[in-house]
């Protein structure tokens, strides 16, 4: 197990998480209700309440490297049930943003899926599911993802072969462009 030096707490990290999530992580008293309700705990390396604890103690590295923040499904169970009214899902989101910004991608396939999705939106203005799948398979190298579903999907006409590009797709593309220019301060 990893041993933390509590004196090395990264106060800047704590402050940044609090500022970006608009949450006071000190309100967390570690009751574990978020972990208790979280459907994703079984794939986590740190449970949600442990993530909250690590944020409280400023263990930036441990958080940004961890798997859990990538696997959170934003199902809002933690936020809804927190007795201290902390928007835990938002804290998880913010940790993931920071991990991305610092170049971490511990759960690579999840990151690639999100990237592929947004790329598709940037290009077409809407999510083009077949193109997104193709992009994901190429980028992740997992070319057999869901091929078993292909016959069902195609037979039932669930996936159109062509994207639905919209007229305003330049507008959407410009959203991404401006976002990139503004960096994380956008």
């Amino acid at each position: 197990m990893q041993i933390f030096n509590l004196a090395d707490a990264d106060q800047g990290f704590i402050d940044e998480v609090e500022a970006r999530s608009h949450q006071n992580v000190k309100n967390c008293y570690q009751c574990g209700n978020c972990t208790a309700g979280c459907p994703y705990t079984f794939v986590y390396d740190y449970s949600v309440s442990q993530i909250m604890r690590l944020v409280q103690t400023g263990q930036k590295d441990a958080i940004l490297k961890c798997r859990s923040i990538w696997l959170c499904g934003s199902c809002q169970s933690c936020t809804t049930r927190c007795p201290n009214k902390i928007d835990v899902a938002r804290v998880m989101d913010v940790c993931r943003h920071m991990a991305r910004e610092e170049g971490y991608a511990t759960e690579r396939s999840v990151k690639i899926f999100a990237d592929s999705f947004l790329e598709s939106v940037e290009r077409h203005g809407r999510a083009y599911e077949l193109g997104l799948m193709a992009s994901y398979m190429t980028r992740s190298g997992r070319v057999f993802t869901d091929v078993d579903l292909a016959p069902q999907v195609l037979m039932r006409g669930k996936l159109p072969f062509k994207p639905h590009p919209i007229q305003g797709r330049e507008q959407v593309a410009r959203i991404f462009e401006r976002f990139r220019k503004g960096g994380k301060n956008a």
Binding site: G32, C34, T35, G37, C38, T41, P83
Partner: protein, 660 residues
């Protein structure tokens, strides 16, 4: 005027950052100051003696002590100047410790500030005048509101102390929550065996008058002389005749309304005696379910009653009681756990409260002391206890710890194992709060000897699967999620203020806190007093408490009552508002704004309306003084002139700004 000033060093507490001799020297330049000195500990015996000596030697008629906060030692020094032969109000204090030496780092600035605070005190003292307390007689009788264990203890102690006691209880029997418990922690002794004899004492004590099914309707008057009206609700049974034989209870055909004594686990007959040890052991009719009272037919009870005590025409009755003191012991209510929708909101029958579980454990309960779960009557094997349901949870506006749930849960886990040896208890907890004599040992026993599985974490949801309830929680020590297939889930619901507490508080002029618990006079030093003189608190109405603490407070409140009523005459605080009839125009604004009803309208000899302060009721807040458009009503010891003198001492008036 001849004023003496004493600057206290408080060891190094003040002298460390304030130049006390220099302050004393400066004080000598203030008007009317004829003597000024610094002293090591003004509050010590030699310190007080020195003040007394100086008053005599220097012929002083006023004293200023600059030391700690007046909230600490004002009374001490007032008594000292009184011993020196001065009126106790010819004294002022300057707070140069909490407000100067402990918060400022720079000695020069501190010294200057201290000197100015002394100057303010001197200027105020120059406008003080001797005030005399009024003396009045008291009624030697006590009202105890609430017949739970705290109220029972207070009533018995007062009665044993020789005072007459009127005990008013809302329910049909006294005993409160404790009467519903099976066993008590940490000794696991039988609750009704402990409480029962005390309840009988209440019934038999010659000094105690007991009104159950009764509530306080109104309260007037003031310490020593309260006038209370009690509403005795109609029971439709003449209790002067009822022998408690129970024949009517047996025969009553209407058994469809839930039994509140058994926490609605079963139904009760419409005429009922709530439990075998009830005091008084009298039957009462539930008017909302009685066939005779709702539909006009039946009357079986009246037919079978051997003493003919059933009276369907009975009405509420108002009783007036004069008392000198009041003990409030209205207890608490259980948190409504339906506010946690994740626990099923009542959709799952086998999710019950801890108090319902007590009834299942109790031999006098609906299952005769056999643990049977409500849904199908099966004996549960896996019992899950969830703590902090309605405690320490901001999201349901209950951020406080209810204090006793950890302990009763440990007790219930132990009793579960006693009742069902092959059962397994799981306790979801956040922290174990067991700071009492033999308390923590008791919790350890639940784990070590009785094998209760303690799991540190909250429970996020309960859902049914087959005939089990799956409890999904966290084990934060293991760092993961856990699930328990439970046969029965017991919610350790927290305590909240009793229903109606706020309304009762209004009648008694006792302020509730934001959660409805009554506020004591001082959290440490006056735990059973309230800010309304003559009204005392006992038990959980002041905040969640376990039985020993409630009993302790009951006795404490009784001792305060006995102390109060042992005096032949009471003195009122003379720092109250006073009306100058010459300036009063009788507009009545002060009467409207007074929160205590301490001002009444009178007529002067020309028939003009005037305001008059009832000294004994006035609490000395001064709201009326600011309200009065004429400046006719002044709060003694805090008059406009006295406060303005302090302002002027700080900010000397300029020539053109002199409005006086």
């Amino acid at each position: 005027m001849r004023i003496g000033v004493f600057i206290c060093h408080c060891g190094s507490n003040i002298a460390g950052t304030v130049d006390c001799p220099s302050v004393a020297a400066t004080a000598l330049t203030y008007p009317d100051v004829v003597f000024s000195t610094d002293t090591m500990y003004a509050c010590s015996e030699p310190g007080q003696d020195a003040i007394i000596q100086a008053v005599k030697d220097k012929n002083l008629d006023g004293v200023v002590v600059a030391s700690c906060t007046p909230r600490m030692h004002e009374q001490t020094f007032r008594r000292a100047v009184e011993r020196a032969g001065l009126n106790r109000y010819m004294f002022e204090m300057a707070n140069i410790r909490e407000h100067v030496s402990w918060i400022g780092k720079t000695k020069d600035l501190n010294t200057g500030k201290a000197a100015e605070l002394v100057r303010m005190a001197v200027e105020k003292l120059r406008r003080n005048r001797p005030l005399m307390a009024k003396r009045f007689e008291t009624t030697k009788r006590v009202l105890v509101i609430g017949g739970g264990v705290a109220g029972i203890q207070a009533a018995l102690d007062c009665a044993d102390g020789g005072q007459e006691v009127v005990l008013v209880e809302r329910e049909q029997s006294i005993g409160g929550k404790m009467a519903k418990l099976d066993k008590t922690f940490p000794t696991v002794d039988c609750s009704s065996c402990v409480l029962g004899p005390k309840m009988v004492d209440i019934a038999q004590h010659p000094n105690i008058t007991l009104y159950t099914c009764a509530e306080v309707e109104s309260v007037g008057g003031y310490v020593g002389n309260f006038q209370v009206t009690v509403r005795r609700k109609a029971t439709h049974v003449d209790w002067t005749k009822c022998t408690g034989c129970g024949l009517c209870v047996e025969k009553c055909p209407s058994r469809k309304h839930p039994d509140p004594f058994n926490e609605n686990l079963c139904n009760a007959p419409s005429i009922n005696i709530p439990f075998p040890q009830a005091i008084p052991k009298k039957a009462a009719i539930n008017a909302s379910s009685c066939l005779m009272l709702t539909k006009g037919k039946c009357g079986l009870c009246a037919k079978v009653c051997p003493v003919k005590c059933i009276d369907f025409e009975q009405k509420d009755e108002l009783v007036n009681v004069d008392v000198g003191a009041i003990v409030v012991a209205t207890g608490y209510d259980l948190f409504d756990w339906h506010k946690y929708p994740q626990y099923g909101e009542g959709r799952y029958k086998d999710v019950i409260t801890s108090l319902q579980y007590e009834r299942l454990l109790s031999a006098s309960g609906p299952t005769g002391g056999h643990i049977k779960r409500p849904s199908d009557g099966k004996e549960p094997k896996n019992v899950v206890f969830i703590q902090c349901v309605g405690s320490r949870d901001k999201s349901v506006n209950r951020p406080y710890c209810s204090g006793f749930c950890c302990m009763y849960t440990a007790k219930q886990a132990i009793l579960t194992k006693d009742h069902i040896p092959d059962s397994q208890s799981y306790v979801f907890y956040m922290d174990i709060r067991s700071p009492g004599k033999l308390y923590d040992e008791f919790v350890r026993r639940a784990m070590e000897e009785y094998g209760a599985q303690y799991v540190r974490g909250r429970v996020a949801m309960i859902y049914p699967k087959g005939d089990k309830l799956v409890v999904r929680g966290a084990d934060t020590l293991a760092g993961t999620q856990v699930e328990v297939p439970a046969d029965l889930v017991v919610l350790a619901v927290g305590a909240e203020s009793a229903k109606g507490a706020v309304q009762l508080g209004e009648k008694l002029r006792v302020a509730p806190d934001q959660y409805g618990f009554f506020v004591e006079s001082h959290p440490k030093l006056k735990p059973v007093e309230t800010n309304t003189a003559g009204v005392f608190l006992a038990g959980a109405c002041q905040g969640p408490k376990d039985i020993p603490a409630s009993v302790g407070q009951g006795s404490a409140a009784a001792s305060k009552v006995l102390g109060l009523l042992s005096k032949a005459m009471l003195e009122s605080d003379p720092a109250v508002s006073r009306v100058n009839p010459a300036r009063c125009v009788g507009c009545g604004k002060c009467i409207q704004t007074c929160p205590f009803g301490a001002i009444k309208e009178i007529q002067d000899r020309f028939g003009n309306p005037k305001a008059e302060v009832i000294d004994t009721v006035c609490q000395g807040c001064g709201i009326c003084t600011v309200t009065c458009p004429q400046g006719a009503i002044q709060l003694e010891h805090f008059t406009d002139n006295q406060i303005l003198a302090e302002v002027n001492a700080l900010c000397p008036p300029k020539m053109f700004a002199n409005f006086e």
